[in-house]
Subunit: 424 residues, 4 copies
């Protein structure tokens, strides 16, 4: 009789296999590139996510586990200290020509094999919880790997393309008109109601605890801001008017000489005057006018909202809406890898396409406690000068995001798939 594979085991296999698919188009050299300070080489992503399972699952819980290579323990930790003089640790990652990609893949195979051995045992609930954490961690790095490779290919003077096919020509379907959906306020509860008795139930620590918030009545837009709308903002010379911007936003505009979202370049040949670099190569803006604007910073989102006499929603407002909606949208599994035109007459695009900047700084919820030990080192320490984003993007694995999910970046960040939804 065939024992049915456990949910956890099959989820493990699915996530690990997805990583393999995503990196398939990339050569060993591609996986070495680190083209901006936010990015890491794809090879590093592959090794670091594997290091997680070795460090937090196999070493402590699988008897007789033999680490693949002792140095990896320190090498693929995200926070090990720099070794040479004046070399910031993260910059070092691009120096990892060795271990080779082949060796990293052997590391992955070794860990996968040992994980299978582990799955054959009955698992302590703590082990299951850690595996769930490791899988969600790997999904985060799947998204980061695509984000980073997009920037890497854009930085290469040959302007490479990750996907072999171009974006599908969309039917000349206009975006639904912008409408305001009305929500009455009151006390609502946000956060993820984690069932700790159920090891396969999962959320990140920063989604807890569930807690009450009071919301004033508000209006929120039925869809994301489109490139067409953003072009009006640009045409109104928004990038040259300090009064539209937060003070630090204006500094970012000036320092970065920003004139448009990241990945936009002037193109006299395009009807709309620009072309956009996507994971599937360059596309004229004219054919993407109704897609959500993407790769804008919080500062640009905030300035756009001010220019429209609107504002960005808070994360509590967003979550109170999204928790009533089904999680579906243009996520990684659609394979499009770029935002798509909204369809439908309701509340659209809450999930997928591009993360939505909210007006909320990243803070711990009331009563928030990080996980104990090294596992908890991650989220809490970044709760300064970062803004919350919600909803996932076209490169977020579909089963990774949810209404309570909190992403966060510095307000000047543009290399992620980040866009705008308006509120009043």
């Amino acid at each position: 009789m065939i024992t049915p594979m456990s949910t956890l085991q099959s989820k493990y296999q699915a996530v690990r296999s997805m990583t393999r698919s995503l990196v398939a188009p990339l050569s060993a050299e591609d996986q070495m590139v680190q083209s901006c300070p936010e990015a890491s080489p794809v090879k590093w992503h592959q090794a670091h996510t594997t290091w997680f399972f070795e460090t937090f699952v196999l070493r402590p819980y699988l008897c007789d586990y033999r680490p693949f290579r002792e140095e990896f323990h320190r090498l693929f930790n995200s926070y090990y200290l720099a070794l040479g003089e004046e070399i910031p640790e993260k910059k070092l990652r691009a120096s990892f020509s060795r271990p080779s990609l082949d060796e990293v893949l052997a590391f992955r195979a070794h860990v996968d094999q040992e994980m299978e051995r582990l799955f054959a045992c009955s698992l302590d609930p703590e082990v299951s919880r850690r595996i769930m954490l490791g899988l969600n961690h790997e999904q985060q790095h799947q998204e980061l790997a695509l984000t980073d490779i997009k920037h890497a290919f854009f930085s290469n003077p040959l302007r490479l393309s990750y996907g072999s096919a171009a974006l599908p020509k969309e039917a000349p379907q206009p975006s639904p008109q912008l409408r305001w959906l009305d929500f009455e306020g009151g006390i609502t509860e946000i956060g993820y109601p984690l069932n700790v008795a159920e090891p396969l139930d999962f959320c990140f620590d920063n989604e807890t605890p569930c807690h009450k918030v009071y919301l004033a009545p508000f209006l929120i837009a039925n869809r994301k801001v489109t490139c067409r709308e953003y072009l009006e903002f640009m045409a109104d010379e928004a990038y040259t008017r300090p009064s539209l911007w937060l003070s630090e936003g204006w500094e970012a505009v000036t320092r970065g000489a920003w004139k448009a979202p990241l990945y936009w370049e002037r193109d006299a040949g395009d009807a709309a005057g620009w072309r956009i670099f996507t994971l599937k190569g360059w596309h004229g803006l004219a054919e993407l006018l109704d897609t959500p604007v993407c790769h804008v910073s919080f500062f640009e989102a905030d300035a756009f909202a001010r220019w429209r006499a609107c504002r960005l929603p808070t994360e509590a407002e967003w979550e109170s809406i999204a928790s009533r909606e089904r999680r579906h949208g243009n996520l990684l599994d659609t394979g499009r890898l770029h935002p798509a035109v909204a369809t439908g007459a309701g509340m659209e695009q809450l999930f997928g396409d591009c993360w939505e900047w909210t007006a909320s700084p990243y803070l711990g919820y009331p009563g928030y406690k990080p996980l104990p030990g090294a596992l908890g080192e991650y989220n809490g320490k970044f709760m300064s000068n970062q803004m919350i984003l919600r909803g996932g993007s076209c490169i977020t694995p579909a089963d990774h995001v949810r209404a309570t999910y909190r992403n966060f970046f510095h307000p000047a960040t543009r290399w992620q798939f980040t866009g705008i939804r308006l509120a009043i």
Copy 2:
């Protein structure tokens, strides 16, 4: 029959006169110094506050008003554009050897005289509102001027003293023990209920609108953290342990080589091992151990709280407490100019001594609208990467602060009188 002077007029005279008293110990040369990027020269503070009345009150509302000198209109605006190549505007202020202090004082006298002429007329409510804003603006600059001159005198290798007398020797009174006061949560309302029909009613735009918030039950300390308690944190090598700090806080510690609060210096001769620079010169830490720790950044406040397994209060928690208390404390009018030991058995030191860092980033309240035009340019544009402080300090004018008052600074700022209150 003598007409009684109006409240507004007497308030005007009192505030302007207070500025004169505060700068009395300073020479024209002292008023030229700008010793750190956060600071401005005192002469500039004197001129800029006067410019406010000329620009927003006299020019538009006093008929036949003749500006003192046309160039001042642009010169003493805080945001005029830089004139020379590569000279950031603020740095320019230290180049204002002319107008001389004498001329700035003549500018002040001219405006004061013309304001008296204005007070003789019946005032439009809008004029009264603007005068109230101007007076509160001048009080903010009174505090800044003392903050800046403290740093200036500290930067002078002769280590000057602003006040002629030393701090009074305090009776050897210990600080009351740290106790936790218990508050049940629920919906509460914060913000200032501005009565727009009453021109003399005043708050800053960022204190409005009043709005409901939901608070979970919380505990809050009965007094501020003392130097003695902070010394334990230092003795536990807190300044060398990255795990205690926010990531950006650790960067600030490293970059600034911080080892103690600003204005602390090692002193082998002091029983506690340090001396502290105050507006009244150097004092051994041993005699100040029970006074509130001061001149710490948000990052230090946050790390201290984490080390104590506590947290900082949110601004809503703080205001919900403070709005029940009488506004009194060691404010500017005590003349001490340095934090003092707490006394009393209740909720102490909410007002005065030193501003309290909260866990709340500076954001607009729900429905917040800046004032229209140039008057509103100030507050809104800084709502990025700043943290809220509450309660005023020993150099805040007593009638300037209130329970709803929101101060804000970048989290790495230390030159202000800023301290810590714990919550759980």
Copy 3:
């Protein structure tokens, strides 16, 4: 019978008196300004030059000398270590509101009085030598004080003028045509032949020892490059063509957004399209076209020469010419305070108007030895990445400069009165 005052004593009085004259138009506040990193406040110049005499002459050589104030010993040394965290020492100088100007003047008077007491004794030759060094040091600071105050007044948005009168209108006298004077090479000797047996004989240590150099035959221009000629260079878009510039020069152009010499500003009202800021206020370029171009960096001088298919002379070439010429020119004593049009049919403008950048980096001559101890700390340590300038400027005291005199600045420096002479 009246004893005639010694040469040294009268020279001392003359130099000190000149300092008094030069600072006469400046208020105490003017003397506080430090408007660029190269500059120091004028009050500091006054104190530092006095400190020299106290430290190196009166303390060691005048019996019963009582220092004016003990702290000044450290305060007015150029190289004392920074006192506060992260405050580079030089930036501190602008924090010296105390000692006040009055106290600095009292310090000067005290030292002058004690120097008179010293002059009444018979002087050891070493004392005379040190006094000579101190006087030349003070003359250097006279020039620096004018340089610095020019920048300070330019940085003040009111654009102040140091001299009360405008530049004299020159007769419409054209500059003599550029001609090449021919010199045959061979072995020549450069450097100052210091007679150590004669205490009043003086040169800086970096002018020694005399030594032979071999020069190839060369051509050198009869006068300095004029504004008119420099304007052609600008009109040829030189500031936008990297191929004309040294690599580090192009970086300086880009970083500084240079489009013209320092102190030039576009002026639509001027026939030549520019106005120039001088110590006597703004003047249209049209009336200064034939004066030497001034306030250019070495990089601009070098690029101009390259553009003209010429080069800059080496310091040995320059000195071999200048040592045959009489030292005269538009130096400080003319009172013009700005370069003047050349006159004459010979080798013109070798001395005065503006320093001439040479092609020679600042190095020690073969066999160069710095003075022993603190006195020798000055010159040698800057022999890296500085270029030699020769000939003095319109603000150099006439008896301070000579054919062997070596000035030196970083190649990007523009705040000094620096210009160009061509060679082939």
Copy 4:
């Protein structure tokens, strides 16, 4: 009858083959690394040197030449302009995951094959000159590739080794004692006497023209400074004493937190207290004490000389000595790849081991003219703030260096194989 291969052709084959040998131990990933701003990826070195032949030889001179790939023309130029926002051009090189190493090798093969076709024709003298320039250019990049890979392997936390074998254990042979060789001065001639009629005669443009210089008599050391001698300098706390350093040198020490030469690390297990990273892995200092100190900046060389009351030789002094000596030494062909102990009783180690910093800034010789056009863009534009080095190193191809050869780097550079010879 077999036609003998021409000298030029066989030299071409030898140089190109040497590049192949040098990169043989490196994987495609190794060739992607760029671990410090001075370095380039090895793959880029391979492509750029090939680009030279395609651009300057094959395109203009081989009829029917079909470029390998049109984009390479711009991609492998050293000075093409940056493409993305804020990405300095040089940093881009690490983004070249494509073309892949395989494609770069195909590019090399294509160019080699077409060069063979060219060699079959009779060559214009200009073509021969360009080929000679291209071969010398490739040899420079051979040295740079090894320099860069050393830093890359050092930056990898695994501390890789380029060579498979360790350094050979040397017989315990002490270095010859330091002696001073005496040279009378006088007029001497330096520079390379290029015979333009002989296309295979070669030197770089900066070695010309030959010209006379006058040298005072001088003493020069018989060998380079050893690690043992440098250790005494360190033991005398040289890295903490500003008085020993040029002002900019002290800044470099402070900024870089230098405490020893680059590639030295404390090692409690070594008898001499340090270990040194070499191309053949780590070696204890104890076994290398008598080898020349290497990887020091000009500032360290200068400070060491000052500490020893000596100085560095000028380039003219060095060349006047070296031009009398036979060119031999520990150059690339010995395969040692690290400096070796001196042997012999004469003037030793002039060539090889490590480049010797001279006291001479990098300037054009009198009458220097860069090559016309793009070929001449290289040398002249760097004649600012660079110091001359002479003699080659243990990774310089033996037939590449000569007595007249002028290398140059910024005075703070340490990643090259650079050492010290003393003079008086």
